[in-house]
Each structure stands twice: as structure tokens, then as C-alpha cells.
């Protein structure tokens, strides 16, 4: 590393390697284990909901199940169908996973060094167009699914790909609008800045401009579930209709990549929701002195931020899993109805109302 730095010079080294290494560390140390244990948690929670035990054979309480699963998927035969379009078939899973992981670069899962007075920055980078970056990258994931569905040369895959194209594009619109509302409230696009604004104003944006913050949050939540193809909006991979939807023909690690992508997306969407609406890494009611014991000042401030962030994140992830245990699946046309007839107009109205409020009353 030191040699590389000498060769490239500090500036080039910084731009070329530093973010990449940080992302790699966050993804491999933080996100991948989180995903694999999220899968385990999902199976355990679903098991609890469905009066069964869930995985309990590998290790105590099935704790090593994710490792066994990953091993299995890694050594499985990788089949590429004869008439598949090979390059697209290979590219598709990468397109789903890559962007989902890169989004973690802008998510502040803890306070910055400046805010805690030295120490670590608990985020990879603080882009001043953070929200835009998130939306832009999240959109790329759709291509992976469409390409995967199309290139498999299977009718079920094709239908799944078509469904996801329509679904994700229509739900990106209300999602985008609902993301603009916190921007209006905060006056910045940087995710770290939005958390800072919530700290400053002393309230989560969920409760700001009541009830518009709440409405925006609900729209974001619904659109987010649809974006990540989870129940009750899991139409692209609807098992009972399309066998497995866009990943019908995928096996082994390629299938696992789609799987990883779905869960990474779940985490990303939850993380963005936490950051934008639930005060990010800040404790509840950050301005109320009486609750300052929640800051747990005997711990490093950054760590406490990370803890609060993870707590809020896990609530979201639990809600996702809870949905899956409770709801039937929407039909394709009903999904479009919900998106275009309800969510988009509602998000526009909310956006307009918040804007008006901001201009007239503040």
C-alpha cells in the first residue's frame, strides 16, 4: 500500500483507492454478513409467524445456516441455458448486485468525525447530491432484472422481466417524489446533511410538517417494498404464477447474486428511509434533554450513533419480513392502479403542500 501510494502520489492514491477500499470493507465486513444473517433472521421470524421452528440444524439455533447456504450455492453447478444470450445472462446479476452495494457508500450509519469531535467518520463518503446518487443507482438495478429476464430465453423469465420493468419504473416515480419532501425540509441533498438538519430541528422528518412527513414516509415505504420486489409486491418472481420469474433459469452463484441483490436493496431502502425520515443515527427526540441518557455517553458517541441506526434499520427489516408473513400478492394491474392512481397523485399533492407550507409559513 505504502509503495503504491509512493508511486501514485497521495492525491491520485486517495481518489483511486480510498473509497474503493472503504466500500470493500463496508460491504464485506458489514453488509454481506448482515445480508446472510438477515436471511437467517427472515427464516426464523417467518418460522415464528408460521408456527414452525425455521432452520435449526446447522450450529446452535441454526446460526451457521447462512454459511452452509453460501457454501452450497458456491459449489453448485452453474448452468447457462443453451439458447440464452450469454453476455447478457452473465451481466444481469452483476447489474443487480453492484449498484445496491455501491449505494452503501453514501449512507451515513454514524456521525461524522466533526460531529463527535474527532475519531472516525461513520460513513464512506458524504456526497452533496447524496439522495440523487441513491435514486440514480437504485434505477440501474432494474436493468439487471429486465436483462436477466429477457436473456434467459424462457417465457416465464420474460414475463417476470416485463413485470419488474413496469413495476419498478412506476414505483420509482412516487418514491422519487416522496424523497424530495425531506429535501425540502432539510434544504440539502447530502444524506449526512439531512440527518444534521433533523438534529438541528429536533424532530424526525417523519413528524415534520405534520401530516405530510408521515404521508411521504408511508409512500416511500410502500414504493420501497415494491422497488425491492418483496411481498406483497413480489410479482416479478411470483412463485405460484411465474415459477421463479426473472431468475427461473439461474442457478448456483448467479442465482445467489440476485438473491443478494434483493436483500441488499431491502437494506438500502430501509437505510435511506431511516436516514431521511427517522433521524438516521440520532437518538429519538434529539433535543429533549430528559432523554439524554439514550445517548449512552459512557460509549463512544460514534458507536452509539451506529447502534441507533442499526436499531431503526432492524425495525424496518422486521416490517419487511412481517409483510411477507401476512399479505397475499397483488395482481399486476392492481399494482399499476395503486402506483399510478394513488401513490403518484398523493405524492404530488404532498410535495405541493410541503412546498406551499415552506413558502408561505416559514
Amino acid at each position: 500500500m505504502q509503495e503504491l501510494r509512493d508511486i501514485l502520489g497521495p492525491t491520485l492514491f486517495y481518489y483511486a483507492f480510498s473509497p474503493a477500499i472503504k466500500i470493500a470493507v463496508v460491504v464485506f465486513v458489514g453488509v454481506l454478513p448482515l445480508i446472510s444473517y438477515l436471511v437467517l433472521a427472515e427464516r426464523k421470524i417467518l418460522g415464528f409467524i408460521q408456527v414452525r421452528t425455521g432452520p435449526n440444524r446447522v450450529g446452535p439455533w441454526g446460526l451457521f445456516q447462512p454459511i452452509a447456504d453460501i457454501m452450497k450455492l458456491l459449489v453448485k453447478e452453474d448452468v447457462i441455458p443453451n439458447k440464452a444470450v450469454k453476455w447478457a445472462f452473465v451481466l444481469a446479476p452483476c447489474l443487480v448486485v453492484g449498484p445496491a452495494f455501491v449505494i452503501f457508500a453514501v449512507i451515513p450509519f454514524g456521525p461524522s468525525a466533526a460531529q463527535t469531535g474527532g475519531g472516525l467518520d461513520y460513513f464512506i463518503t458524504d456526497v452533496n447530491i447524496g439522495v440523487l446518487f441513491v435514486v440514480a443507482l437504485a434505477t440501474i438495478g432494474v436493468y439487471g432484472i429486465i436483462i436477466g429476464g429477457w436473456s434467459s430465453n424462457s417465457k416465464f423469465s420474460l414475463l417476470g422481466g416485463l413485470r419488474s420493468a413496469a413495476q419498478m419504473i412506476s414505483y420509482e416515480v412516487p418514491q422519487g417524489f416522496s424523497l424530495v419532501i425531506p429535501l425540502l425540509m432539510a434544504g440539502t441533498m447530502s444524506l449526512q446533511g439531512i440527518v444534521g438538519a433533523q438534529l438541528e430541528q429536533g424532530r424526525w422528518f417523519l413528524f415534520a410538517f405534520f401530516p405530510f412527513g408521515l404521508i411521504a414516509f408511508m409512500i416511500y415505504l410502500i414504493a420501497g417494498v415494491a422497488e425491492s420486489n418483496r411481498n406483497p409486491f413480489d410479482l416479478p418472481e411470483a412463485e405460484s404464477e411465474l415459477v421463479a420469474g426473472f431468475h427461473t433459469e439461474y442457478t448456483g452463484m448467479r442465482f445467489a447474486l440476485f438473491f443478494l441483490g434483493e436483500y441488499a436493496n431491502m437494506i438500502v431502502i430501509s437505510a435511506v428511509a431511516v436516514t431521511l425520515f427517522l433521524g438516521g443515527w440520532a437518538r429519538p427526540f434529539p433535543n429533549v434533554e430528559a432523554l439524554s441518557f439514550l445517548d449512552a455517553s459512557f460509549l463512544p458517541a460514534g458507536l452509539v450513533g451506529v447502534l441507533w441506526f442499526s436499531l431503526k434499520l432492524s425495525v424496518f427489516l422486521f416490517v419487511y419480513i412481517w409483510f411477507r408473513g401476512t399479505f397475499p400478492r397483488y395482481r399486476f394491474d392492481q399494482l399499476m392502479d395503486l402506483g399510478w392512481k394513488w401513490l403518484i397523485p398523493l405524492s404530488l399533492v404532498t410535495l405541493f403542500a410541503v412546498g406551499l407550507w415552506k413558502v408561505l409559513l416559514l
Binding site: 408456527v51 414475463l159 406483497p232 413480489d234 410479482l235 405460484s240 397475499p328 400478492r329 395482481r331 394491474d333
Partner: protein, 398 residues
């Protein structure tokens, strides 16, 4: 058949209006800008929601089903021919394998036909035991239907709840006759076994508990907005069409036809017990769901009454060791199975074997309307329609 007429004549209640709206939106053919070609989609025989080995050749225009053509025969085992090769007694196990999730009712339809053919009079205790077994079987069959139907529509959890209760029923069966699915639990002339000691109490315990479990399933589904959106107005089966196609069972009653053989031509102990036949009038998937849920409740009532009234006495009629049908005799006996009217037509020729056996399988008849119900619906509705017809391929193909 004008579907629009059928829905337009409906009173303006919310349910009817929802049906009208939905049939309107899905029935209109869109004008297309470009030439479109329909895609042929092979739905099954290896598909998660064809419930066995049904194959449907679908013509789809995007997600909309233009044409549906069921292809059966992947589970054909020549059961009707097999009946001719064995004596009357030995044919009972074959009937288990027709509708393999409702063996007791198949048994009853067959042994009933044999008894009618030969003229055996079944002792009352055996008749009550048969009724109890059949109604438990109806519950377990409906539970399996609900489980798979719900999972087809995407609700995962009811599946496990239903299997939890079905397990108890299967345990009861196992205790009675040693088998859980292929029961072989009836004989021409009576019952092979009496109820085991304590069986009635264990059964009553289950029956006490079960209605609350039905509430649990209904809590998850009945008023669930998504469930209603997926089922209300989907696969509307008008009453006259249902009758033309010989549709029976809950499918017919959900279309508003009050026909249940248990009431119309009471057999076994059904004349002695009080129960209601649920009927609904919209004929859509949601109504069929409601009918079956209520039928489970009524089955609980029937079994409870049968257990209370269970008479003492013989369980087997005095019958010759080898049953021989009279020469040139025939008999048709049908009962109300969980899926509809299941009947056996037997021809005797003076030998211990039936000369010919014909099974009137409700699944087979009910399957005939699937292409009509699925036409112009979306692909997702295909699954709902297939689930709501509650077919078992063992019975369709025989």
C-alpha cells in the same frame, strides 16, 4: 353467454359493483398500435401451482389470457379398468387413490354403490361412523384447498396454519384405521373397525378448538384488502353455466344453486343431524372461498352431533363372504364429496367382480369450466381460478 348481463343485473351492493368494475376492466380488448402476436405459454405439467400434473396450454397477450386449453392424462392409471379385475371388497383401496386428499368420501361413494347393487343394509352405528369420517375428511380436504389456494395467491402463512389442523385430523384417521391419506376405511356392508377407545373424546377436543382456528384463517384473509382484490370478481361462474357443465359442490353453491346431496338425498346419518348448506350468489372466487369456509364450520356441527347421537350396535351387516352382484344389475350411488358430487356407477354380471365401473369425478367436471373462467383474465387470475376449482388430478385422470 353474456357475462356482462350476468353482472349488470346484480343489485348495487359493494361486492356486485366490484365485480362489475373488474369484469369490465379485464374484458375489454385493447386496440393495439402494432401487430401483436400471442405467446403460447405452457403452464404445467411441472408448475408450482397446477396442483399435480395438469398441463394448460395458454395463449397469452402480454399477461392477458386469450385462450386456455387444459390437457389431462398425465396421471392416468386406468383405475376404472382395474375395478373390473378385482372383487368388490378389494376395490376399496383403488378408490383411495382417486381423490387422494379425500379418501373417506371416495370410499363411501364406492361402498354405497356396492351396497345398493347387492342390497346390503348397513347398521346404524356404521352409518354414523361413516358420516363422522366423511365430515372430518371434508374439513381436511378444505384445509388443503385453503392452504394451497392461499399460497397460490401469495399468502404464505395460512398454508402452515391449515396444515397444523389437518395434521390433527390425519392423526385421528391414523388412530382409526392406521392410514393417514389412503384410508381404506370402509367396507361394503359396514365398517371394518369400531371407533377406538377415547377416539370420540379426542375428536371432540379437536372440534371444540377448530372453529377458533377457522376464525384465525379468516382473520388473515376474509377482510384482507389484497385478498379481496385478488378474488372478488375473479373467475365469475354464472349459475346456468355451472349447471350446463355439471359443476357440483362448493363451486355450484357459490353460484347460487342450492344443491347439496347431503340435504337433497340424505344418505348415511345426514338425515338425522342438523346443519346448513351455505350458498352465495356471486359465483366468484371470493364467494367460493366463503362457501368452503362456512362448510368447514357446518362439518364441525355435523360431527359433533354424530358423536353425541352415536348409536350402539353392530358395525357390519350380515353379508356373504364373497359378494356377488345379481346378473344384469346396475347401480349408481353418489354422495357429496368435498369437491362435489362423487358417484360410482357399477354394473354387475353375477360374478364377484364388477362388470364395469364408471366414476363420476367432481374434479373432472369442475375442470371443464376453467378455460371459460380463465378467458380474458390475467395470468395471476389463472392461478386463482385453478386454485378455487379445487381439482385433484388423481381424480381427473383416474
Amino acid at each position: 353467454m353474456e357475462w356482462a348481463d350476468f353482472t349488470a343485473g346484480r343489485t348495487g351492493d359493494l361486492h356486485g359493483r366490484a365485480i362489475r368494475e373488474m369484469t369490465n376492466t379485464t374484458n375489454t380488448r385493447r386496440d393495439t398500435l402494432f401487430d401483436v402476436e400471442e405467446m403460447e405459454l405452457n403452464f404445467g405439467p411441472q408448475h408450482p401451482s397446477t396442483h399435480g400434473v395438469l398441463r394448460l396450454k395458454l395463449k397469452v397477450d402480454g399477461e392477458r389470457i386469450v385462450d386456455c386449453y387444459p390437457i389431462i392424462g398425465y396421471l392416468h392409471r386406468g383405475t376404472e379398468k382395474l375395478f373390473e379385475l378385482h372383487p368388490f371388497f378389494q376395490n376399496v383401496p383403488h378408490t383411495d387413490r382417486l381423490d387422494y386428499v379425500a379418501a373417506a368420501t371416495n370410499n363411501l361413494a364406492y361402498v354405497g354403490a356396492v351396497e345398493k347393487l347387492i342390497g346390503l343394509v348397513v347398521p346404524p352405528r356404521a352409518r354414523y361412523i361413516r358420516t363422522i369420517l366423511c365430515e372430518l375428511q371434508r374439513i381436511s380436504s378444505h384445509l388443503l384447498w385453503l392452504a394451497t389456494h392461499a399460497i397460490d395467491i401469495g399468502a404464505m402463512t395460512p398454508f402452515f396454519y391449515c396444515f397444523r389442523e389437518r395434521e390433527i385430523i390425519l392423526d385421528l384417521f391414523e388412530e382409526y384405521c392406521g392410514a393417514r391419506l389412503t384410508l381404506n376405511c370402509m367396507r361394503p356392508g359396514g365398517q371394518p373397525f369400531d371407533l377406538p377407545v377415547g377416539w370420540g373424546e379426542r375428536c371432540a377436543e379437536f372440534l371444540d378448538d377448530f372453529p377458533s382456528k377457522i376464525d384465525e384463517y379468516e382473520g388473515l384473509l376474509t377482510n384482507n384488502r389484497i385478498w379481496k382484490k385478488r378474488t372478488v370478481g375473479v373467475g365469475v361462474l354464472p349459475a346456468d353455466l355451472a349447471q350446463e357443465y355439471g359443476v357440483t359442490g362448493p363451486m355450484l353453491r357459490a353460484s347460487g344453486v342450492q344443491w347439496d346431496i347431503r340435504k337433497a338425498m340424505p344418505y348415511e346419518a345426514y338425515g338425522d343431524v342438523e346443519f346448513d348448506i351455505p350458498v352465495t350468489y356471486n359465483g366468484d372466487t371470493y364467494d367460493r372461498y366463503l362457501v368452503r369456509m362456512e362448510e368447514m364450520r357446518q362439518s364441525v356441527r355435523i360431527v359433533e352431533q354424530c358423536l353425541d347421537k352415536l348409536p350402539d350396535g353392530l358395525i357390519m351387516a350380515k353379508s356373504p363372504r364373497v359378494l356377488k352382484a345379481p346378473k344384469q344389475s346396475d347401480a349408481y350411488f353418489s354422495i357429496e364429496g368435498p369437491k362435489g358430487e362423487i358417484g360410482f356407477y357399477l354394473v354387475g354380471d353375477g360374478t364377484p367382480n364388477p362388470h364395469r365401473c364408471r366414476v363420476r369425478a367432481p374434479s373432472f367436471m369442475n375442470l371443464q369450466v376453467v378455460p371459460i373462467l380463465a378467458k380474458d383474465q390475467l395470468l395471476a387470475d389463472m392461478v386463482a381460478v385453478l386454485g378455487t376449482t379445487d381439482i385433484v388430478l388423481g381424480e381427473v385422470d383416474r
